[in-house]
Symmetry: C2
Subunit: 136 residues, 2 copies
Amino acid sequence: MNPKEIDHIGIAVNNIEKAFEFYKSLGWKDLKTEIVKSEKVRVGFISFGNNVHIELLEATEPDSPIAKFISKRGEGIHHICIRTEDVKEDLQKLKSKGHRLVNETPKEGAKNCWVAFVHPSSANGVLIELSQERES
Amino acid sequence: MNPKEIDHIGIAVNNIEKAFEFYKSLGWKDLKTEIVKSEKVRVGFISFGNNVHIELLEATEPDSPIAKFISKRGEGIHHICIRTEDVKEDLQKLKSKGHRLVNETPKEGAKNCWVAFVHPSSANGVLIELSQERES
């Protein structure tokens, strides 16, 4: 066992409310949404019992990374986010082993977190986000 | 909040040990593997702190669903598994709302569970597995 946790799974969708219908059928009731301007996305949060979320990601502008993803591959899973205690240290470990990073240093993400992405070519086709809570 | 939990994320890979290198760089040490003959796959389990797993899925035969997936789309996320209390009831709920199911009734899965798959066309391009622990 490793103390790291799965924080969320990001799913690129055309429309959050339409996508939520599936989860509604399975018993989810309320949907919280938030706009993340810097990423040009609207996010819909679906919470699971074991502290994991699904984030439904909808583009807010035509040049949003999510719009590009959907036009190329269609709707589907966009990334997995791993909650870690030290993103900076993890990036160094990955770099020293020759893994390809999207972000060389952590940047400010949503929910008061430091985040960084690892390139899918280093993780078997999966875009991995590392996320660490910032001290308030 | 919904009591349902994310059980695991299944990732289709060419070689489990090679794929595990990435997670090893992030601090994971031991890799448990298991062959699921009925699905023609070898599975590598990576455990996270909040009771979620990543399952690395490697084809054991050329006609394995995982071999077909990789030849069509390359390595990447294959499915998300949701742990639920009653797969049968969930299937009925989904069906009554017009969602498309892969399995109309639960089948025996790995780890002494009842499982059923929902078609990606009903969940925004994501293959969803529902899983329920069987009474022993």
